[in-house]
Each structure stands twice: as C-alpha cells, then as structure tokens.
C-alpha cells in the first residue's frame, strides 16, 4: 500500500475501533475515556499493532483536540455562572484545591519526579472531569437533586482555576526562574479577569463579528479565530490551551449556544485523537511498575474528593446521603487530567505519563461506579421516617 492508502486505512480502523469502544462504554454506563486510553496503549509503541503511518497526523490533530476541548470548556459556562459560583461557593473551591492538589504534588516528589512534574501531577489529581461528572449526573437523574448545584459549582471553579493553573504550569515546565513564574501568573490572572470583564461589556460585539446565517461561515470564523489566538498564546509562552479557553470565555452566552452545537462533533473527533495520541506516547510496559503508586494515589484522592463534595454540599444544607452523592460524583478524573499530564510529557517529563495514565484509568472507571454504588448504601444514613 502507498503512504496515503496506509494513512487512511489506519485512521479508518482507528475511528471505527473508537466507535465500538464508545458503544461498549455507554453500555456499561461508563465514560469512553478510559477505554480509549486502554486501546491507545494496546496499539502503537510497545503495543500489539503499530500505528506508524498515522502517528504524525495524530499528534498534530491532538494539538487541535486540546484547543477545541478548552474552547468548549470556556463556552460551557457563562461569565454570570462563573461569578455566581464564585460568590456562593468560593470556600468549596479552596477546599477542593487544598485537599486534592497536595496528594498529587507530594506523590510526585515521593516518586522522584522533578518538582515541575510533581506540580503537574498535583493538577492531575486536583481537577475532576467536568465532562464525565456532568454526563453522570444527567444519566443518573440527579440534575434536580439539591446537592447538584454545589457539585456543578465545584466543577465551574475548577475550570476557572485551570485558566490560572495552566499558565503557571507552562511557565514552570519551561524551566524559567521564579521571577518569570510570578510574571506568568500575573499575566494569566490579568488576562482572565480582563477577558471576563470585556466579555460582559463587549462580548456581544465579538458575537456579532462571528455570527452569520451560514453555519459554515460561523465554524470557519470561530475555529480560525481560536487557532489564531491559541497559536499566539503559545508563541507568547502561556500555552495554546489557555488562549483557546479565553476565546471561549469571551464569547457571549447567546452565541455560545450555537457555537457549542456546531463545535460539538468536531471537538469529539479531535478530542478522541488527543486521548489516542496521549495513550500512544505512553509505553504500556511502563505502567505496570507504577500501578501500585497510581492505585494508592487514586484511593487517597478519591477520599479527598468525597470530603470536598461533602463540604460543598453541607454548605448548601444537604443531608448526609446527598453529601455522599456529591462527594462520590466528583471522584472521576478525565480529560483535563490528561491535558495537564500531556503538557508535562510534551515538556520532556515523560516519567509522568505512565503514572497519570494509570491514575486516570482507575478513577475514570471507579468514580462513576462508586457514585452509583453509594446511592443504596447512603440510604442507611436516613432518619427513620416519622409515622
């Protein structure tokens, strides 16, 4: 077969395989992310089938996948939702950070990783998967539950925190001194605040520039603008992901709805290639030795997430069963843990890949299972009905 034929056949088989895995995951009531990771480990370097021809394409597509993931993350929440979560649930956000970041950071240092990689591992354990959690709440019919606003607010605050954490991480990974790191943080905070304020006052103008009757026009303008900003942000040293996130934040709520509809399928396709590319870059043989460490970290940070959800729900006056539901719902880690790990691996900290992969594999599966399981168990904590 010639090169083009080989590329197309490989990609075709890959996407068909992903579709089957997605089907299987849905059937089991789980997120497809761990299945995609496992499949990507199975193929490629050190695996059973080498994806030699399509690897260069996949790694380029993976970059676009990260950009689209972060763009849709920025579109997910309006500035109003961010501010109202910040007002009502800021303490929960801090508890989330203080309970879930240190275990990853300390584990990283104990594993002998350099502090920059440990910082990334802290981020991996800190951020829950808003994709998995939001979907889970819908599937389990918990959207109307009283603890749900607290859970969603924690996710919103994590996403906002990502906008600040990613540039810090990127600066740290670049290996610059503490002065540059502080500069990076100031720049990131300034950019996020500026974009949020500008979005409230002038976002509709941006919406008007981008909107058109023609779906094709909207898609081209939106993707074009996002890639441009992401590229400039990368060139400026604050990471493409942050640039894309800011574009998503700046778009007005009225336009965001249409943008989400149009971008959805494109995001799904490229994000899947991102997970594949991440899995491909990890050698499955390296995961086995770090699996005990990943398991220990998963157990600890599952407990700390339960404590986070417990605290956030209790602030809303939720009873014990609801606090347990909220806590277990937050356990799942997924796409953003992989994004963070991917940044560190790309910066040359390849030791982080196997730990992060093992960790996400465990919790992306365990989180949804645990929160399903906790529902009948937690019913025991209910007061005896008064008759």
């Amino acid at each position: 077969m010639d090169h083009v034929a080989e590329l197309l056949v490989e990609l075709g088989l890959l996407f068909l395989g992903l579709s089957l895995l997605g089907l299987l995951a849905r059937r089991l009531g789980l997120s497809p992310i761990p299945f995609v990771l496992l499949a990507a480990l199975a193929v490629g370097e050190g695996g059973v089938v080498p994806l030699s021809t399509s690897e260069p394409f996949l790694s380029a597509a993976a970059e676009i996948g990260v950009v689209l993931l972060l763009l849709t993350l920025g579109l997910e929440f309006s500035a109003d939702e961010l501010f109202s979560s910040l007002r009502r649930h800021a303490p929960s956000g801090w508890v989330d950070l203080l309970l879930n970041f240190p275990p990853g950071f300390v584990a990283g240092l104990l594993l002998g990783l350099p502090w920059q990689a440990a910082l990334a591992l802290g981020g991996v354990t800190w951020i829950s998967s808003s994709g998995i959690v939001a979907r889970l709440l819908g599937d389990l019919g918990r959207l109307a539950n009283r603890e749900t606003p607290a859970v969603l607010s924690v996710l919103v605050l994590e996403d906002l925190a990502m906008a600040l954490f990613l540039p810090v991480l990127v600066v740290a990974l670049a290996g610059d001194g503490p002065l540059e790191a502080v500069g990076g943080i100031v720049l990131a905070v300034g950019a996020v605040v500026l974009v949020l304020l500008a979005a409230q006052r002038h976002g509709h103008r941006l919406g008007r520039v981008l909107s058109s009757r023609d779906d094709e026009q909207v898609l081209l303008r939106l993707v074009g603008l996002t890639l441009l900003v992401a590229g400039l942000a990368q060139a400026g040293g604050v990471s493409a992901a942050v640039g894309a996130f800011l574009v998503g934040l700046a778009l007005p709520a009225s336009f965001a709805e249409r943008a989400r509809d149009l971008l959805g399928p494109l995001r799904d396709l490229f994000a899947a290639t991102f997970f594949v590319a991440f899995g491909l870059s990890t050698d499955p043989a390296e995961i086995v030795p770090v699996l005990p460490a990943a398991l220990a970290l998963a157990v600890v940070t599952a407990a700390t997430k339960v404590a986070t959800g417990w605290y956030a729900a209790r602030r809303d006056g939720i009873a014990v069963p609801g606090r347990l539901r909220a806590g277990t719902a937050l356990i799942a880690r997924g796409e953003f843990s992989i994004v963070i790990a991917g940044l560190a691996v790309a910066a040359g900290h390849e030791d982080l890949g196997p730990v992060a992969t093992g960790y996400v594999l465990l919790l992306a599966v365990a989180g949804p299972v645990l929160t399903r399981f906790v529902e009948p168990v937690s019913a025991r904590f209910l007061p005896v009905p008064a008759r």
Binding site: A144, T148, P149, L155, G207, R213
Partner: protein
C-alpha cells in the same frame, strides 16, 4: 407571582432548576436544560435532597405540556390581562434581517424559558399566525406579538437581534 414560592436555582453549565411546593404538600422540581426540553421530578419523602421519578421531556414535549398548562388561557385573556395586571406588557418585536433566528423555528428562540415572554402571534405581511407553535418558522421581516414583563420583552428583543 404573589403568594407562590417558585424557587429558582442556577445549575452552571446545565440550565436552571425550579422548585415549587404544591398544594398537596409534595415538592415539584423542574430542570430546564440549556439545550431545551425539561426534566420534571418529585422529591423523595425520606431524602428530600433526592429527586425520584424523573420525567424527561423533549423540547417538543415540554412545549406541548406548557401549551396544555398555560398558553391557551394566556392568549384568550391577553387583551384583558395586559390592562389588568400591572407589570405585564405587550410588544411588537420585529425579526430583522441578520437575526440568528431568521429561518429557524419559533421554538428555537426559547423565548418563554429564557425571557418569560409568551409569543402570542406572528405577523407576516398581511397574514397573522395566531397562537404559533414551536415549529412555526420565523423569517426576516416577521413581527412577533409578545407579552411579558418589560425587562423580559427587552431581553427578547435583544435575543431576536442576536445580542442577548
């Protein structure tokens, strides 16, 4: 609405939840997701934080239920109401060329969900579509007759022109 306690809670990234304690004593929960439709649920008596018996309605079904519950009465009384109820106003809002809803269905505006306004008629040149349904198409040049609060009507106007 006076004498009623309809509690509204923002669900970031999902939509809005409404809670209402009905006369028979149960708590009724309605989640209106951003992408349309509705989830109607009753809360567990033993664990009042937990929704049970969730009904999931597609956007069309939600509109059908809304129609059954309120819309016809509203249109009937429209003329009287806007005189009698302080704070309720009517407006004629044009769909201008370039509006994001040009060529879309009326239901796509989600006017009632987002602005609380009811669109009681579409005026197209000399024709009038009274009590339009969610599937009725909108075109540039149409004029929507809507009733709602003054702020709701302003929101609707902004939304129709693609700024809201």
């Amino acid at each position: 609405m006076p004498g009623m306690d309809l509690e509204e809670t923002l669900l970031p990234g999902v939509g809005v939840r409404y809670e209402l304690e009905v006369d028979s004593g149960q708590l009724l929960g309605i989640v209106v997701p951003r992408e349309g439709g509705a989830e109607i649920s009753v809360y567990d008596r033993r664990d009042p934080d937990r929704a049970r018996g969730v009904f999931r309605l597609s956007p069309e079904q939600a509109d059908a239920v809304a129609e059954v519950l309120g819309a016809p009465r509203l249109t009937q009384r429209f003329a009287d109401l806007s005189k009698e109820v302080p704070g309720l106003e009517s407006a004629r809002i044009p769909v201008r060329p370039g509006s994001p809803f040009d060529g879309k269905a009326l239901g796509d505006t989600r006017a009632r969900t987002l602005t609380g306004c009811s669109i009681v008629a579409i005026v197209r040149d000399a024709d009038v579509v009274p009590s339009p349904g969610p599937e009725d198409p909108l075109h540039a040049g149409d004029v929507l007759v809507a009733i709602g609060s003054a702020t709701g009507l302003e929101q609707l106007e902004r939304r129709l022109s693609g700024q809201g």
